[in-house]
């Protein structure tokens, strides 16, 4: 058995807990980089990661979907602009935007967030960081909405530290939408401390009206395993604050019995 998390292919976790019943798709586009990290985070969160391929419209019956970080199609046109038209996105857009029943929970991380804004599942857009450089650092965020499918296990206004790494991370949105986002409590994550990129109102992540679609620029999937995450008070790279995102969705999908 290979110890490497496979990129594509059959990825069945042992059915040892009821949580493993939560099957969470992780999409790979050409140029996606953090797909294996997202799959690992799902596994550590107790769920079963299911690889999804950009060129197929089938979601293979997954209960939720993660669009991971990277540079899909090189982001040469505009971040996420091409990936948004992939066959898999057609299905995701339909199922996440479903009016009836419970819509598909979708999480977009970094490039995934950019794809979600391009797909109009989330409002706003990302432009180059105000300092015009790629920046990688441990970032403190405040969780301001714990009602979404992906944040239910955080406490309101909890401060978390997760890595952030991007070049096009400055969130921009028109004033009317910005006011609506703030009024409706749809800002899910906000940067704490000096702004890392000049985002409007220090917004790091937002959700849609129904709370099933969440996008954020920082990378919770890089803060799920002690020893390989951001630094925290207990030691070097021990931060695992990001794991709560994955346990939240697994818990909500399996009836809250986490």
């Amino acid at each position: 058995m290979t110890a490497e998390t496979p990129l594509i292919g059959d990825h069945t976790a042992p059915e040892t807990s009821p949580l493993a019943g939560a099957r969470i798709g992780v999409v790979t586009f050409p140029g996606t980089l953090d797909d294996r990290d997202a799959a690992r985070a799902v596994r550590l969160g107790g769920g079963t990661p299911v690889p999804l391929w950009h060129a197929e419209d089938a979601l293979h019956g997954v209960d939720a979907v993660i669009l991971p970080g990277g540079f899909s199609y090189g982001d040469y046109l505009r971040a996420g602009a091409i990936a948004r038209f992939a066959p898999v996105m057609n299905t995701i857009i339909t199922e996440a935007g479903a009016v009836a029943g419970s819509p598909l929970p979708v999480l977009g991380i970094c490039n995934g967030f950019q794809i979600l804004t391009e797909a109009h599942l989330l409002p706003g857009s990302m432009i180059k960081n105000d300092h015009l450089k790629f920046t990688c650092r441990d970032q403190v965020l405040r969780v301001e909405n714990t009602e979404t499918a992906w944040t239910s296990q955080f406490t309101q206004n909890e401060l978390i530290t997760v890595p952030m790494k991007n070049q096009d991370g400055q969130y921009v949105v028109d004033d009317a939408t910005l006011h609506a986002l703030e009024d409706q409590g749809r800002v899910v994550f906000r940067y704490v401390g000096a702004s890392p990129n000049g985002s409007k109102n220090d917004i790091a992540g937002v959700t849609n009206e129904r709370g099933n679609v969440v996008g954020l620029m920082p990378h919770p999937e890089h803060a799920v395993e002690a020893g390989y995450g951001p630094d925290d008070a207990t030691g070097l790279r021990d931060g695992t604050d990001g794991l709560t995102i994955f346990t939240s969705v697994v818990s909500s999908l399996t009836g809250g019995n986490a």
Binding site: G69, H131, K133, F134, A233
Partner: protein, 775 residues
């Protein structure tokens, strides 16, 4: 089909007197004569193009070969134990155990990065990563040892931001964590920056691939990006010549990178390997198709037949010679059996990678390249790939070397009026840490992704980069690259050994068992006998030291002609050492931990009066004397102590003493997590017979600072005593103090530096020169 005349082999036979531009392509008269001898006729334009790039310094190692042999000769059976593939292939491969193997290599992209910093640095990453893929491995991390001119020089202002952005722009887009490297400023690198790149990859034993074209009738395929006009003559004209104002701009010789194409190529190749679809594979780097066809053919059955008009082009006006020489990036050549052709095409289609079948493997012993059915190349591939010229370049010890070595720091003007009081020493530490070379480099490293992959256990600024290989067992590797060019300038033989010793020590300090070496030998012009002496001495030193430490050189790169307007860089043999962890969770970080209040701080090793070539001397503008003494046996014992201490969980932090000596190490260990310390150099001065200044700023080798819980002190000192290695308790970690306090035999008590003040001084230097990242 073309609007240019094709110079066929037949035509070459009929027109023996046609003048060819061999000199413009970088060939020497005697080299051209040799080509005439080999072929028995004049070469065609395409053949000339191939020979000129393959016989260039960059590709043929013609000046360095006679010296590099020592890396193969000075090797014991014991050193070969874990070596699966040695020097000569795209990269060396070392056994890691549990069925895993690791491959790593360091290369230079100096000249292109000077001409076009962003693309030069970006394609440096691209090239080294393709070397790793060619071995069958998944690339898992990169590192970048970088050297620039004086921080205030306009050239540095132009080059550094572009190089850093290029490394980030390319490496970040590949999903490879950047886990370390170096940033050094020195005026000797003005107009000749060094941009070295290291990549490491891992594979299961069965996935190992080699570059050879075996199996008559097997098909040859070129895949990846299309071939364009970029990088033509990169290896011959750009990398193998010195810069000179009188020559035209060399920008067209720099390749342009497309990291997205490379990322797709990585995944596509791994799927090919996984499904066992290729017999041999070779990346296209320097010398492009010339290199790939001639090397694949000569390493295999000896023959290959290729139709060059089948190459997919970005620019349809390229001539056959240009196609053969183009160094367009993100291309690979593979040998595939006819049975696997369909499956191969399916993988290409999955990843949307373009490919074209160019020809097949033959047993004729000839590399035949046709253009629209007419033969334009008919050569023995060995003569192109392996039988290039070999030079015994004359070399001699520079006449100024003795004068340089006699000019010691202590005897110089710079060595007078040294700080002696606590107050002055405190000031000196602050000044040291805010000098460009000691300052915080996070402005650079924060532009690189260190998290992607989720396996990074240590990265900059820790002593080594550490990557987990196997998620189930924690098996992993540690890597460090080092070189102190000032030491190498003072004494190239010892300097190269000191570079190896430091990289070895850094890997062991993190807790890894050193296994293998890769080197990037950056020097001036080999046509200068004094530079050639520096090179010869450095290689001899490195080979001798590898033998003594028992770790083999598995590959690397030589970069010559690093000189501008007749002024050579310091000899800069950058050495990368790779080590193994059974479990990377045991790695030792380089700073005092936040929860480690009250832990004991020990200094391992002996301090001598060794200030020549030091950082302190640099600050006073002095470079002369002899580098610090080297004791490889002591380094080995120290390494064992650190590895055992990590394995048995005795120590919680360890940091090696190098540039800036004890003063810098104490400061860096506190700056890492913002945790202060209280120490005294009283006993150190007494034991080693030193004044406090020397104790703090000497750069004696084989020294490491560690912190450990008091409950482990006895066990730890028992271990050092049993091994006869000096260990001295200097003080304690003090998490509450918010500063560094150092007592000693000073007339005015002790000195303290607040961590806030130190951090501000240390971290503001580089942003103040290149702009703050944050708003």
């Amino acid at each position: 089909m073309s609007d240019f005349n094709i110079d066929t082999v037949e035509n070459a036979g009929n027109t023996p007197d046609t003048e060819l531009p061999w000199a413009e392509l970088g060939l020497k008269a005697d080299e051209y004569e040799r080509i005439l001898d080999i072929l028995g006729r004049r070469p065609t334009a395409a053949e000339l193009a191939m020979y000129s790039v393959m016989w260039s310094e960059h590709c043929s190692y013609k000046s360095s070969k006679v010296h590099l042999r020592q890396f193969g000769d000075k090797v014991t059976e014991e050193m070969k134990k874990d070596l699966m593939v040695g020097i000569g292939e795209n990269a060396g491969v070392t056994d890691l155990g549990d069925g895993w193997a690791v491959t790593f290599k360091i290369e230079s992209h100096n000249h292109p990065s000077y001409v076009e910093p962003y693309q030069g640095a970006a394609t440096g990453i691209g090239g080294i990563v393709r070397d790793i893929i060619s071995m069958g491995a998944r690339p898992v991390a990169v590192m970048d040892p970088l050297r620039f001119g004086d921080i205030d020089h306009p050239d540095t202002q132009r080059v550094l931001p572009g190089v850093v952005a290029g490394i980030g722009g390319y490496g970040n887009s590949l999903g490879l964590p950047n886990i370390g490297g170096e940033v050094v400023f020195d005026s000797v690198y003005q107009q000749n920056p060094l941009v070295n790149a290291l990549a490491v990859g891992v594979m299961k034993h069965e996935d190992l691939r080699l570059a050879n074209a075996s199996g008559v009738g097997n098909k040859v395929v070129l895949f990846g990006a299309r071939t364009g006009g970029d990088g033509i003559g990169g290896a011959s004209v750009l990398a193998s010549e010195s810069f000179d104002d009188t020559k035209p701009s060399k920008r067209p010789a720099v390749q342009v990178g497309d990291p997205f194409a490379e990322k797709v190529l990585i995944e596509c190749c791994l799927e090919l390997f996984h499904n066992n679809l290729v017999e041999g594979i070779q990346d296209l780097g320097a010398a492009g198709i010339s290199c790939a066809t001639s090397e694949l053919a000569s390493n295999g059955e000896g023959g290959m037949h290729v139709e060059l008009t089948d190459v997919l082009l970005r620019d349809p006006t390229l001539t056959p010679g240009e196609i053969l020489m183009s160094e367009s990036q993100e291309r690979m050549m593979a040998v595939v059996t006819p049975e696997n052709a369909e499956a191969f095409e399916a993988v290409m289609s999955t990843w949307g990678v373009e490919f074209s079948w160019l020809g097949e493997v033959t047993d004729t012993g000839r590399l035949i390249i046709e253009w629209d059915g007419e033969t334009i190349v008919d050569v023995d591939p060995r003569t192109v790939a392996h039988d290039g010229p070999v030079y015994e370049r004359p070399y001699h010890r520079p006449t100024w070397q003795d004068t340089l070595q006699a000019d010691t720091f202590r005897s110089s003007e710079a060595g007078q009026g040294l700080p002696a009081t606590a107050e002055d020493l405190g000031e000196a530490v602050l000044e040291l840490m805010s000098s460009p070379n000691m300052a915080d480099k996070s402005w650079v490293t924060d532009q690189f992704d260190r998290f992607v992959g989720g396996n990074t256990a240590l990265s900059q600024p820790d002593d080594s980069g550490v990557i987990r290989v196997d998620e189930e067992t924690g098996l992993g590797v540690g890597l460090a690259t080092d070189c102190n060019d000032r030491y190498a300038y003072l004494d190239p033989y010892t300097g190269a050994q000191l570079a190896l010793a430091e990289a070895y020590r850094n890997v062991a300090t993190a807790g890894a068992v050193p296994l293998a070496v890769s080197d990037c030998l950056n020097f001036g012009s080999p046509e200068d006998p004094e530079v050639m002496w520096q090179f010869a001495e450095a290689v001899r030193g490195l080979a001798d030291a590898c033998m003594e430490l028992g770790i083999p050189v598995t590959g690397g790169n030589v970069s010559l002609y690093n000189q501008t307007a007749g002024r050579a860089i310091h000899p800069t043999p950058v050495v990368g050492v790779l080590g193994k962890f059974d479990d990377v969770s045991r790695r030792t970080p380089s700073g005092f931990q936040r929860w480690a209040d009250g832990q004991a701080i020990y200094l391992l090793g002996t301090t001598r009066d060794e200030l020549d070539g030091s950082e302190f001397a640099r600050q006073r503008g002095h470079l002369g004397g002899m580098p610090p003494a080297l004791d490889l046996n002591a380094e080995k014992v120290l390494g064992e102590i650190l590895i055992n201490a990590s394995r048995d969980g005795m120590i919680d932090a360890a940091h090696d003493l190098s540039e800036g000596g004890l003063a810098a190490a104490l400061a860096e260990m506190s700056l890492r997590f913002g945790v202060g310390s209280r120490t005294s150099v009283h006993e150190l001065c007494e034991r080693d017979g030193l004044d406090p200044f020397t104790a703090l700023f000497s750069e004696s080798q084989g020294r490491v600072l560690v912190s450990l819980p008091r409950s482990e002190e006895l066990r730890f000192t028992d271990m050092t005593t049993a091994r006869g290695f000096p260990a001295l308790r200097l003080g304690v970690v003090d998490a509450e103090s918010g500063g560094i306090e150092v007592a000693g035999p000073f007339s005015d008590g002790s000195f303290g530096i607040g961590l806030d003040e130190l951090k501000e001084a240390w971290s503001s230097v580089i942003p103040s020169k290149f702009g703050r990242v944050e708003a």
